[in-house]
Symmetry: C2
Subunit: 342 residues, 2 copies
Amino acid sequence: MSETPLLVRDVPEEALLARIFPLLPGAPTTIVGPGDDCAVVAAPDGRYVVSTDVLVEDRHFRRRWSSGYDVGWRAAMQNLADVAAMGARPAALVVSLVMPGNLPVEWVTGLARGLAAACTPSGAAVVGGDLSGGDQVVVAVTVHGDLEGREPVLRSGARPGDVVALAGTLGRSAAGLALLDAGRSDDGLTATYLRPDPPIAAGPRAADGGATAMLDVSDGLLRDAGRMARASGARIDVSSAALATDRDALRDAARIVAPGGDDPQLEVRSEDEVRTLLDAWVLAGGEDHGLLATFPAGIELPRGFRTIGVVHGAGAQGDAAAAVTVDGESLRTGTGWDHFRG
Amino acid sequence: MSETPLLVRDVPEEALLARIFPLLPGAPTTIVGPGDDCAVVAAPDGRYVVSTDVLVEDRHFRRRWSSGYDVGWRAAMQNLADVAAMGARPAALVVSLVMPGNLPVEWVTGLARGLAAACTPSGAAVVGGDLSGGDQVVVAVTVHGDLEGREPVLRSGARPGDVVALAGTLGRSAAGLALLDAGRSDDGLTATYLRPDPPIAAGPRAADGGATAMLDVSDGLLRDAGRMARASGARIDVSSAALATDRDALRDAARIVAPGGDDPQLEVRSEDEVRTLLDAWVLAGGEDHGLLATFPAGIELPRGFRTIGVVHGAGAQGDAAAAVTVDGESLRTGTGWDHFRG
C-alpha cells in the first residue's frame, strides 16, 4: 500500500516554515534568529567572512540519487569548506530554497535535517532563509564565519619554497558520481559524492599553523592549484608519488566504471581506461572539498595535512599552462599524464 | 539589421566573471572583495544583520517586461529594504545567479549594473557571488547591514497606544504589474513595479527616532501589519482616511485595468471594479517595500513617515482575523471593505 506523499503545493508557506524552523540548528552567536526581516549575528572579531554557493537540480544533483537530506548536507558542506579555507570558523548560514509544487514536503524537511547535521559539528546556525516556487529545485546557501582574530588566509599568499599540503581526499566524489552514472553503487565513494565530509576544522588549524595560502578543492586539484599559483604569481609542482594512495583507493571503482570494466575479455584495453579514469578523478575531480594549503618549508604540518608538492617561482614564461606541474612537467593538452601512470 | 546577441553558453565562466566584476560596487568596509573562497567584511559594531531573498523568473518577474538591469535593481532593493527594516545601514551583498545558456550576456551585465545602481546610494558593496546554469533565471541575494550601535528594531515591539506610521508608497507596484498584465504601461507605476525605490535611509532614521517595531511591506499592508500585530500581541487599526491619497494616485490606473475600463458604456459597473482594485492594491499589494513602523504616541515622526493608524491591545478574543482592523472594523472574508470605499 503506497501512500501519496504530501506535496509542498498542498501546504501554505507558513505551515511549511513551521515544520522547518524547529529542525534548524541554533548557536549562541545568534542574537536574533529566523522570523524577522533579518537575523542578527554576533561578530566578536569585528569582521566576518561570507561566501555563497548554489546547487541546481539536474546540474549539481539528481533527485533520483540525492535525497533532500543529501542535498541539504552537501549545500551546507560546500559552503562550510569555503569558510574553513579562509582560516575561519563557520558561524551562520542563510538558505534560499526554490522548489516545484510537486516536491514532497518530506524532501524539504529532509533538506533541513541535512543542513542541521552538516552544521552541528562546526557549531554553525541556520539563521534565516527564503522559500519560492520554481521549475526545478535550487538551493542557494550563504555562509558566514568568524576569523577569531586570525588573519584571513588568501589564495594569493603562496611563496617559492613553501610546501604544498592537502587535508582531505581527492577524486572520491568524482568516482562516486561515475559509479552512480554507471548504475552502480559503493557505500564509501557514492557517500562521498552524496554527502562530502570536508575537513572543516583543519581550516582554522592551518591558519594557526602558519598557512601562507589556502583554498578548497571544489573544481579539481589541477584547476584549483592553478588558481592558487596564478594568484600567488608562482608555480605549484605536485608530486605524483604523494597521490598514489588516493589513486589506489579508487582503483576498484575505476575497474567497474571503465569501458570494458567487469569484462575479463577486455582486460587490457580496460586497464588503460582505468589509468585514465584515475588521473581524471584524482587530478581533475572536484567536490571532495579538501583543503589545499601552502606552508613555509620546515614547519610541522597541522594535524590532517600531508605534503603533496612544493611552490616554485613562476619562471620566465609565467603563462597559465605552466602554473601547475606534476613531477616538474606541465600537463598540456595532448601530452597526457603518462609520467603520472605507474 | 539585427545582430544575434552573445549568449552566456558562448562565454567561459571566468570570462563572464571578468565582465561582471568591474561593474560591482565596492565599499571601504570590504576588507577582501570577490575572488577568494570568501569575502571579508568589517563589522565595527560587533554584530551584523543578514537576510536573503530570491527572485525566480516567471514567478517574480518576466523577461519580456523586466530587463537584467530591472531584475538586478529589484533583487538588491527588496533585500536592502529588509536591512533598513531592522534599523540598520546596508553594507554588503552576495549574489547567486542561475541562468539558462540562452540568456544574453548583456542581460547578465545589465543585472550587475542594476545591482550597482541600487546599492550605490546606500553605500553597500557586492562582495561575492556564484554562477550556475539552470532552466530558468534565479537571483538569490543575501544582504548584510550594520546596526551602527543601534538596537535592532524587531516586528514584535509594538505597544498599545503607539502610532502606526508608514514611509514609502502603497499599491504602486501592484498597479504597475496590473497595467503590464493588461498590455498597458505608465511611466510612474510600471517603473515602481520594475524598479521599486523603497526609503532605505528611513530605516536607520526610524530606529534613531524611537521606533518600537518595524518591518518592510513586501506582502501587502494588511498581511504585514497583521504579522507585526501578532508578533507584538497587539491589534493594529489602520485609518482609511490616511490612505486616501494612496488610493487617489492609483485611480487612473484602476480605470484602465478594471473590467470595462476605458469603455464609457460600462462606466457604472467599472466604477465598482475600480474601488475593488484600489482596495486590493493599497491594502494587499506588496513590493513597494515601504517601511511600516510604530512609534510612541506624541513623539515627532522621523522624516519620511506619516501616521496611518494606531496600536491597540489585542483584546479578549485575540484571534488572527482581528490582528488588523480598518477604521475599527475587521476585514473578514465576505464582509468586504465597504467602509473603506468613498
